[in-house]
């Protein structure tokens, strides 16, 4: 049936060239990303301290179920997730719609100002927040001088306030970042839709709820997945702002993984198992998000 063998068609040639161009990057990604991930999976089935690793089967995963510190960390992560992500995304979308207004003056200035926190290094901003909220820090001094508190508050030393400070810090750092995505999304919404809505008598709130939000759905989905992913892997803030304290109340899973590998007697297998739990959690949550959010 086939015609006699002849040289490659032009399409095949293009295909091969394309693959050749992709190959170096693909190989690098495999070697640098996927191979370590597979190694980590193997490691998560081993137990022991330091280099003395023995095959333990699912011992590490069983161990996770009994580890109270891990459960505390998991709860903390979900606390951040449930409170911080919606607040931040809501703020970001509001800010984006405000900054998208045509008649707004100094738009560039505001956009830059709100986006600027994202350019701060995670460690630097954590340390700045720590200094601000320190026992003899600025916040206490200002509040004290304004008469809003009668004595200094140990913001980062109390369970209730430490968590809130971390959330405030996160919102400060990441709102602008998400706002940029919404701004980009808003550029794709045709202005005529809003005009039509105005003619039909819809107020700004209604226009926001009925036009902006539905049309931004793909962007909202994207930012939600990214934020969930980021929050579940939260590390710098927990380490630098509070060092997980007081009493592990701000400890995150990633911080605990770090501790299990580098601060305690090193339990790399166990730490790898915890990493896989985070991996699975992120995957499942993203999958659910996609199923629920993507109505295409």
């Amino acid at each position: 049936m086939n015609s006699p063998k002849k040289s490659l068609t032009i399409n095949q040639k293009y295909n091969i060239t394309g693959w050749l161009f992709l190959l170096p990057a693909a190989l690098l990604i495999f070697a640098m990303n996927f191979y370590p991930m597979l190694q980590a999976l193997v490691l998560s089935f081993k137990t022991g301290i330091g280099n003395n690793q023995v095959w333990g089967g699912i011992a590490n995963y069983k161990r996770l179920l009994e580890d109270r510190v891990f459960w505390t960390a998991l709860t903390n992560n979900f606390f951040y997730l449930i409170i911080q992500v919606p607040v931040m995304l809501f703020l970001a979308i509001i800010l984006a719609s405000l900054l998208n207004k045509k008649d707004l003056k100094f738009k560039g200035l505001f956009r830059t100002a709100i986006f600027l926190p994202c350019c701060t290094a995670l460690v630097s901003y954590s340390i700045i927040f720590k200094t601000l909220f320190a026992y003899d820090g600025y916040i206490n001094t200002i509040l004290l001088n304004m008469g809003m508190i009668s004595s200094r508050v140990n913001w980062l030393g109390q369970v209730s306030t430490a968590k809130i400070i971390i959330i405030i810090a996160l919102i400060w750092r990441w709102t602008g970042y998400n706002m940029v995505f919404y701004l980009a999304g808003l550029q794709n919404i045709d202005e005529s839709l809003y005009e039509a809505a105005r003619i039909d008598g819809a107020g700004p709130v209604k226009a926001f709820l009925k036009i902006t939000v539905p049309l931004l759905r793909p962007t909202i989905l994207l930012t939600t997945i990214m934020s969930i992913n980021g929050t579940l892997q939260l590390f710098d803030e927990s380490v630098n702002l509070t060092n997980g304290g007081p009493a592990n109340s701000t400890l995150t899973m990633s911080h605990y993984i770090y501790k299990a590998s580098f601060e305690y007697n090193p339990q790399f297998g166990y730490a790898a198992a915890m990493s896989y739990v985070i991996f699975i959690l992120v995957a499942v949550l993203s999958f659910v998000q996609m199923k629920v959010g993507d109505k295409r």
Binding site: R68, V159, N248, E263, N265, Y270
Partner: protein
Amino acid sequence: MKKKIVALLLTAAMAVSLMACGGTKETGSSENTDNSQAQNETQSSDAEEAAADDSQKTLTVWCWDSFNVDAMKTAGAIYEAEHSGVKIEVVETVSSDIQTLVQTYAMSGELDALPDIFLMDDQVFAKYLQNYPEVFADLTDSGINFSDFAPSKVANSVRDNKNYGVPYDSNTVIACYRTDYLEQAGYTIEDLTDITWDEFITIGEDVLAKTGMPMLTNVQGEPDLLNMILQSAGISVFDENGNIMLTNNEGLKDAMYVYMELVQKGILQEQTDWSGYQGSINNGTVVGTINGSWICATIMSTDQAEQEGNWAVTNMPKLNDYEGATNYSAQGGSTWAVSSSCKNYDLAVDFFAATWAGSTEFYDSILTDLGAIATYLPAADSAAYNQTSDYFGGEAIYAKIVSYGGQIPTVNKGIYWSEEKEALGVALSNILEGISDFDSAVADAQATVEFIIGQ
């Protein structure tokens, strides 16, 4: 036009930032080449050793804190002066970084990346020695006389009757107080010498009422002070087999109650981190501190000139009527280790034998210049230890510290020490915040440490 300008600016910014990145990378890589050069040099010198012994040899040292760095540099200068062609290169590396790097290199098998000599915190030395024995060079038969060092210090770096470390700075606990603050409240340093914690709390309340200042500060969640109290009374939280015993430990209970009373009455102010702790001392917002004698260097590093002469050293309070309670304890300190990958093992050993483990003149000079109090016993007889310190009110504090050193009770520590400290920190926070009661918090701490050991 406007857009073009913006685009131009952005490109310029990017180029600058890229250049900045490139710059840092370059310095990083140049450091690497330095290292590899040093290694190449040592390797080549090894090869040439048979022919001629005058080629340049370098010993690279990692240690932290200007205090340790300067002490090592002093030793290096002494040795370099006597041995031409030898260079002691000191690279300042933070303690926790040394730990992480040692661990990473050990796990990856890249032991060659380690320096020839590194300093290790005594609190983790045993842990690293047990987990990564391949990192440490055996010094047992090196000719270093280990009986010249305080036995309790040497024991920390011994495994299976083999020596793996050269002990360095003293871990003897001292209590330091600001005499000017005490005076304001009507007390002298004698009132705080040889006292119990109950007496200390009475004085502390009075001082707080009169000066508005807490007697002590401590880093929250890292109750070093609690561990000092425990050791001062000879209370172990591990049994001989390394099992954790926090529950039904009467001594621990007493010590924790003392600690909590200090916090609740505001006599001990908890700080969020070490810089807060250090700051409280240097800024004069605390009356005193109780810590290893190495804290003297921190105390003297203040920029407040009025603090000079207003500090005094005494012993720490003892655990009331607990049997075996003393006014003496140990905290921190560090030990030098030679890495197994050291290409010039003999040179490194000779360097230690000539300075850190054989020269009282060297110890005299670092004591006089840096206030470095070591555990090298022959040095204690020297006149330098009897010198007075103007900073500490003209008192001979070094002789005092050495005299404390011999009276420290020994306790079982082991490799799960930092896990235990953290678990107790969590328990203390939970009790103090009213989240759980004493017994359940301690039971939780016990379960947490048992869980970690159970790996």
